[in-house]
């Protein structure tokens, strides 16, 4: 920590070390420890045996690490759940990016009738929790014979208007002159979109992709309502279902949590540069 403090001014050479800074960084480090700790607790907990998980004096590190929890976890189709989750998140992401980038561009640049009305409705619906329409959605999915398939989770998420809103903000930055120039060159609508618009809003699509993926990953609610077959379960549902009635086994639950989170964390750490760049390029400029 001391090192951080000394290096910082020399690195960018602007500001002095003030007591406020020192205290802030200490607080920051304490908070970091706190944030890392939950993950640490999941992972170590998954190796604890049934006795030490519920010991009144918690073990900071499993004194007698066991693999029992993973054994009982993989008796269930945990990998299948993981696969389903990735499938759901991937499809949601893809469909949202395609439909939202087209829609956002249209709202930003096409002066079609009813554009303002549509945009206002989108804005109003943006923050709606899905619980609001869960009952009709359920009926609708069963009518379409999609209940208990991953599409029942994917489609409502794609319909959420946030993506269009985000992509509209991006497309607005495209100078009208460029569109005019393309038209004079004789480029059709499709070509204009694919060759001029798409490259310009690429960072936005990146941002949207990440946002959608993570939202879908955490969308426990829709999964709970729409999926009920052991083979269509997602990892979130799987973890939640590990809480049985006649015994609560936190070791097993932690094993589930670890399997559900560690893969995506590793992906995140490897790609974190692109990840954060995508998010930020998306929203910072407006």
């Amino acid at each position: 920590m001391q090192k951080t403090m000394q290096k910082k001014p020399s690195a960018k050479g602007v500001e002095k070390v003030t007591p406020y800074k020192v205290i802030s960084v200490i607080i920051l480090l304490l908070l970091s420890a706190f944030f890392i700790f939950t993950l640490y607790w999941i992972i170590t907990g998954s190796f604890k045996d049934r006795q030490s998980v519920i010991a009144a004096k918690p073990e900071w590190f499993p004194s007698n690490p066991v693999l029992d929890n993973y054994h009982s976890l993989f008796e269930k189709p945990a990998l299948r759940w993981l696969y389903n989750t990735v499938l759901i998140c991937g499809a949601t992401m893809l469909l949202t990016c395609v439909s939202a980038s087209m829609g956002g561009y249209a709202i930003a640049k096409k002066k079609f009738a009813g554009r303002n009305l549509i945009f206002t409705i989108f804005i109003c619906a943006m923050a709606l929790p899905k619980q609001v329409i869960l009952i009709p959605l359920l009926k609708q999915m069963s009518f379409l014979k999609l209940h208990n398939t991953i599409w029942a989770v994917i489609l409502p998420n794609v319909g959420w208007p946030f993506g269009v809103f985000l992509m509209k903000q991006f497309s607005e930055n495209i100078p009208d002159e460029m569109l005019e120039a393309a038209r004079i060159d004789g480029a059709g609508e499709t070509r204009t979109f694919l060759e001029i618009i798409l490259p310009m809003i690429k960072p936005g699509i990146g941002a949207l992709a990440i946002f959608t993926f993570i939202t879908a990953w955490n969308d426990y609610f829709m999964q709970l309502i729409m999926l009920n077959d052991t083979n269509t379960l997602t990892i979130s549902l799987g973890i939640a279902k590990l809480q049985a009635e006649l015994s609560t086994d936190f070791g097993l639950i932690m094993a589930g949590a670890a399997v559900g989170s560690v893969p995506i964390i590793i992906v995140f750490l490897i790609f974190q540069r692109y990840f954060t760049r995508g998010i930020t390029m998306g929203a910072v400029k407006g």
Partner: protein, 300 residues
């Protein structure tokens, strides 16, 4: 001459309309199919006594029952508390963290960014179950640590006590919602025009003044975006409540979203649940329209 230009303008407008709607088609299809249509169904069923066995028109009875239902009122208050507390804290906290880390060396910046982003990628269910364990009255880590530090003398039942349960929920919600804003603010701040800051400093502006007059206007758009995603997040926290407290003790952590679910799935009262859904939808629509308007005008 005049006629033909008018004609070509009309042609152009028509072309604009057609291409506009063609581009809108996919998103409109999904939006109307899976948001607007169910919303309409929801409005209709809210006028019915709709259960597993019954489907009969009862007019506004669901709505009048709703406002007389003390659990509903309690859930409404809890929902508002969660949003009103967590949204500003998330925004201020992430701005504070971002303002500290954006000037650090790249390694440290990305270290802190990653750390605060961890709970987001860990997933809400995994985060909830680990906190459920930490909060456990008998063998949870929190009581053990707090007791050893002398902060409490006997075990506190954090999520079993109506005074602390909602606080616990908000705390967990905060840890899962600051990640994205921190990342956003960090790069928003580093994108602020340096020459403007230097000019202001030459003019003798204090740090606070530089922040308020130079940086703040430039990160306004980011703030709008953050406000929106944080509000969505706070309204939608469901796993947290269902898995941690089931709305208890004594409905002290029930939110409208949870209560709708509870009515629909535990009591099979679909019509009543729909009425609450419509009410909530109206509030949220107004709220987000206002938020958007306000932020837009501030932005100039």
């Amino acid at each position: 001459m005049q006629i033909s230009s008018k004609h070509s303008m009309r042609m152009a407008r028509r072309r604009e309309n057609i291409s506009g709607y063609l581009f809108m088609a996919p998103s409109l299809l999904f939006f109307i199919g899976f948001v607007i249509f169910p919303m309409g169904m929801c409005l209709v069923t809210s006028f019915f006594n709709y259960t597993m066995m019954d489907f009969s028109f009862i007019g506004l009875k669901n709505y009048s029952e709703m406002f007389a239902d003390s659990v509903f009122i309690k859930s409404l208050v809890n929902t508002i508390v969660i949003v009103v507390v967590s949204v500003p804290i998330t925004c201020v906290f992430s701005l504070w963290v971002a303002s500290l880390i954006y000037k650090m060396k790249d390694v440290y910046t990305s270290f802190f960014r990653c750390v605060f982003y961890l709970p987001v990628v860990t997933g809400s269910v995994a985060v909830t179950v680990v906190w459920k364990w930490i909060f456990n009255n008998y063998y949870g880590l929190l009581n053990y640590v707090a007791k050893n530090l002398g902060l409490i003398s006997t075990n506190v039942n954090w999520i079993g006590n109506s005074n602390t349960a909602l606080g616990c929920i908000i705390m967990i919600l905060l840890t899962t919602s600051v990640g994205q804003p921190i990342v956003l603010y960090t790069s928003a701040l580093s994108n602020v025009d340096k020459s403007l800051i230097e000019a202001a400093q030459v003019d003798g502006a204090t740090n606070l003044q530089t922040f308020w007059y130079i940086k703040w206007p430039q990160i306004m758009y980011t703030t709008l975006y953050i406000l929106i995603i944080t509000t969505i997040n706070s309204f939608q926290c469901f796993a947290l409540i269902q898995l941690l407290t089931s709305g208890g003790p004594n409905y002290s952590t029930s939110t409208i979203m949870y209560y709708i679910y509870y009515n629909a799935f535990k009591l099979s009262r679909y019509g009543y649940g729909s009425a609450m859904g419509i009410f909530l939808a109206a509030i949220i629509a107004i709220f987000s329209a206002l938020q958007f308007k306000v932020a837009k005008t501030d932005n100039g």
